[in-house]
């Protein structure tokens, strides 16, 4: 006589060590096998889009820091680019090079954190996290030299940067970039062929290519599924067309490919920064001449960049006054979790956690 079993609901609640932020999933389990998952979000909703309608364009830069709080330089960059597109402002050369350097170093820091916590979800007990944070501490020290802050920088302004870098920044940055490839090789040596990592992550949580395009995924999630789409190459913004770098593409779209794509992107970012450090002009203006209250002409603009998590965009509608009429933020991670249900069906509870960790979400961006 077969035993009567029924599926039950488990609430992987807003407070949990492994949902990266306040994220809730209602999971329907049959034993250990996941039958259905429903994400519930909104626990960190602060109403940034509504607040932005009452503040000037420069005051809104503060809000963009707090979106994806682990990579605030790239958020600032996307917003400033959108306003500059709307108002027709041209950014000086030295400021462009410095923006590229900061954006790429921010990408390295964000990917180190993502990979470290992916391995922490696997159970490796904080050891990979602490190894990768050793480098991230150096990055945070560099940023503190420049903006005075370790996490939420508020450094870029419309038309350039807020202030020039101090004299000790360039030698420190050159030293960091010179020794970084050795550390990335060390991580690869320790992790890439680890038997347990391969057993847990290869073939798990596959996102097929057509599904990835259909749901509008972007960033490492899209590239791991085999789609060659990186905005820095397909639609170069700022001065990215002057640098020579490659785009790593995965093959299967499983968790291991997403981890691998992020590690390769760290190497490509190091390449870009090396080239930028050679080409940067030594002196020059840091900001274009913009008035205190910018009044862009009436119209709309969409400025978007390749942030570490994906395609981050800002859609701004202006009616000629000092505050935007409508500011809409396009978050890459909200779109990336559209396919969570497909990726997780049939796997076990332990796999649900690592599939979710491999998408690499930050709740500040999802909830805005």
């Amino acid at each position: 006589m077969p035993i009567k079993t029924e599926p039950f609901y488990l609430n992987i609640g807003p407070q949990h060590p492994s949902t990266h932020g306040v994220f809730r999933m209602r999971v329907m389990l049959d034993g250990e096998v996941v039958v259905d998952v429903e994400p519930v979000i909104g626990y960190l909703h602060r109403g940034i889009e509504k607040l932005a309608e009452g503040r000037t364009y420069t005051q809104n830069i503060i809000f963009t820091d707090r979106l994806d709080y682990l990579s605030s330089m790239t958020n600032n960059l996307a917003y400033c680019m959108a306003v500059e597109k709307l108002a027709g402002i041209k950014v000086p050369e030295r400021a462009e090079y410095l923006r590229v350097i900061f954006a790429e170093v921010m990408r390295i820091s964000s990917h180190l954190m993502a990979v470290g916590f992916f391995l922490n979800d696997l159970g490796a007990m904080m050891t990979p996290v602490l190894y990768m944070w050793r480098e991230r501490e150096k990055i945070l020290d560099l940023f503190e030299m420049v903006s005075g802050q370790r996490l939420l920088y508020n450094y870029m302004r419309i038309g350039g940067l807020s202030q020039d870098v101090p004299a000790e920044f360039m030698p420190a940055m050159k030293k960091f970039i010179a020794e970084m490839p050795r550390y990335v090789d060390e991580y690869d040596q320790l992790l890439a062929t680890n038997e347990i990592l391969l057993a847990r992550a290869k073939g798990v949580g596959i996102l097929p290519r057509e599904t990835a395009i259909d749901i509008g995924a972007s960033g490492p999630v899209l590239r791991a599924s085999g789609v060659k789409w990186d905005i820095r190459k397909m639609n170069p913004y700022s001065i990215y067309d002057r640098f020579d770098f490659e785009i790593p593409i995965g093959q299967n779209g499983d968790c291991y490919d997403r981890y691998w794509v992020r590690m390769q992107e760290i190497r490509q970012s190091i390449r870009i920064v090396e080239q930028a450090l050679k080409q940067i002009p030594d002196t020059g203006p840091i900001r274009a001449d913009v008035p205190l209250y910018i009044r862009p002409p009436k119209g709309e603009a969409y400025g978007y960049i390749e942030a570490p998590k994906g395609n981050l965009g800002f859609y701004i509608v202006s009616d000629g006054s000092i505050a935007p009429y409508r500011l809409h933020i396009y978050p890459p991670t909200l779109i990336n979790i559209t396919a969570l249900r497909d990726m997780v069906k049939g796997w076990k509870v332990a796999d649900l956690i690592i599939i979710f960790g491999s998408i690499d979400v930050v709740l500040g961006e999802i909830d805005r």
């Binding site: 039950f8 488990l10 949990h16 060590p17 492994s18 049959d30 034993g31 250990e32 096998v33 996941v34 039958v35 391995l119 922490n120 979800d121 696997l122 159970g123 490796a124 007990m125 904080m126 050891t127 602490l130 190894y131 050793r134 680890n194 038997e195 347990i196 990592l197 391969l198 057993a199 847990r200 290869k202 073939g203 798990v204 069906k345 049939g346 796997w347 076990k348 509870v349 332990a350 796999d351 956690i353």
Partner: protein, 370 residues
């Protein structure tokens, strides 16, 4: 003739009545063992936190006393001062009994571990089998804790516990029998005394299987899915706080000490060693085994539950059976004086078997159609 028997004979010769001469050495032995366990567990907690810190490029706790040696005492005091919360829907009797059922068998294990030459509480002639039998009782306590907590996370953990701990008993027992065949008896003191060459060299495959099986019995990484911090948030002891949680915590390090002692006795030669007093050799070897356990915790990620089960049944069990058959054949064929030949033969066979199994046995996959 162990020390307690000598003590008893001396008391009888002093004129004490029979029952007192039986009771006083027994109580002395029990008090010494409990003191030893608690002291060494405190040292283990400190050593694990410092050593894990060195693996993770940081110093461990170093504020509380010189080099942090009072940190475990501070942890113990903190846990004792916490409020004891019992959930409303929990089964009160089971919730109360579960830590006891987990902790007491671990103390009982120390009755057959020889700490030094002749320093054993009771020299059972089935000592090794007693170890396996008593350590199985803790599994029941873990499931009681998981069931009585009225919490879905601990229920998942309890189901995993039964599966994991039952299936890893088998390879452990089979490699133990391999040791007993070479030694000629199950008694722990005899096993140590017959080890001219430590059995880790004589049966490397048996040592590896016993070590991995013991890791799974202790719920340590890479098999710690019962209390997987990142998935089910502390598993079976989610709803425990205060002294009951302290019992689980001490029990975890106590069973690590017990199994380290058992591995030292069975495979590393117990208290034998050239210059230092035997108790120091025992402590050094126990510390080495524990450092190996902490090293595995720091480096490896954790397995999934179905991968764990297939590793036990399809990977370790056949190897344990083959190991047993090979050891039995060797004991029959090779005379006692040529034991070093057995060493080389066993290393070669172990290398061949491990390579063969690593080719045949893969761990991936696991998707179920829903």
């Amino acid at each position: 003739m162990n020390l307690l028997d000598q003590f008893k004979i001396w008391l009888v010769s002093m004129g004490w009545p029979g029952w007192a001469a039986y009771l006083v050495p027994a109580i002395t032995g029990i008090v010494v063992i409990i003191a030893f366990v608690l002291t060494v567990v405190i040292v283990f907690i400190w050593w694990e936190r410092r050593f894990l810190g060195r693996f993770q490029i940081r110093t461990g706790p170093n504020r509380c006393g010189p080099e942090g040696i009072f940190q475990p005492i501070a942890t113990a005091v903190k846990i004792l001062l916490k409020e004891d919360i019992v959930p409303e829907k929990a089964d009160k009797i089971l919730h109360f009994l579960a830590p006891i059922v987990v902790f007491v068998p671990i103390l009982m294990l120390f009755a057959v571990i020889p700490l030094s030459e002749g320093a054993i509480l009771v020299d059972l002639n089935v000592g090794a089998v007693y170890v396996i039998a008593i350590s199985s009782i803790s599994i029941l306590g873990i499931f009681m804790a998981a069931w009585a907590s009225a919490n879905k996370y601990s229920l998942i953990s309890g189901m995993r516990a039964i599966a994991q701990m039952v299936s890893y008993e088998l390879p452990v027992v089979l490699s133990l029998v391999g040791v007993a065949i070479v030694a000629g008896s199950f008694s722990m003191i005899k096993i140590v005394e017959t080890q001219n060459i430590p059995y880790v060299f004589l049966q490397p495959l048996g040592f590896i299987i016993f070590f991995l099986g013991a890791l799974a019995e202790m719920n340590r990484c890479p098999f710690d899915l019962l209390e997987a911090d990142s998935e089910i948030v502390a598993g079976y002891h989610i709803e425990y706080s205060g002294m009951k949680f302290a019992m689980f915590y001490l029990g975890e390090y106590g069973v690590a000490l017990a199994y380290a002692g058992v591995i030292t006795t069975l495979f590393l030669g117990g208290w034998q060693g050239p210059l230092l007093p035997p108790i120091l050799w025992f402590l050094i070897k126990v510390m080495l085994v524990f450092s190996l356990i902490v090293w595995m915790r720091a480096t490896l990620p954790r397995l999934r539950v179905d991968q764990l089960m297939s590793f036990a049944w399809k990977g370790m069990l056949p190897m344990a059976v083959i190991n047993l058959i090979l050891i039995a054949i060797e004991v029959l064929i090779i005379p006692h004086s040529l034991q070093w030949a057995m060493v080389m033969l066993n290393f070669a066979l172990a290398a061949v078997l491990i390579l063969l199994f690593s080719r045949l046995f893969t761990l991936g996959g696991g998707r179920v159609e829903v």
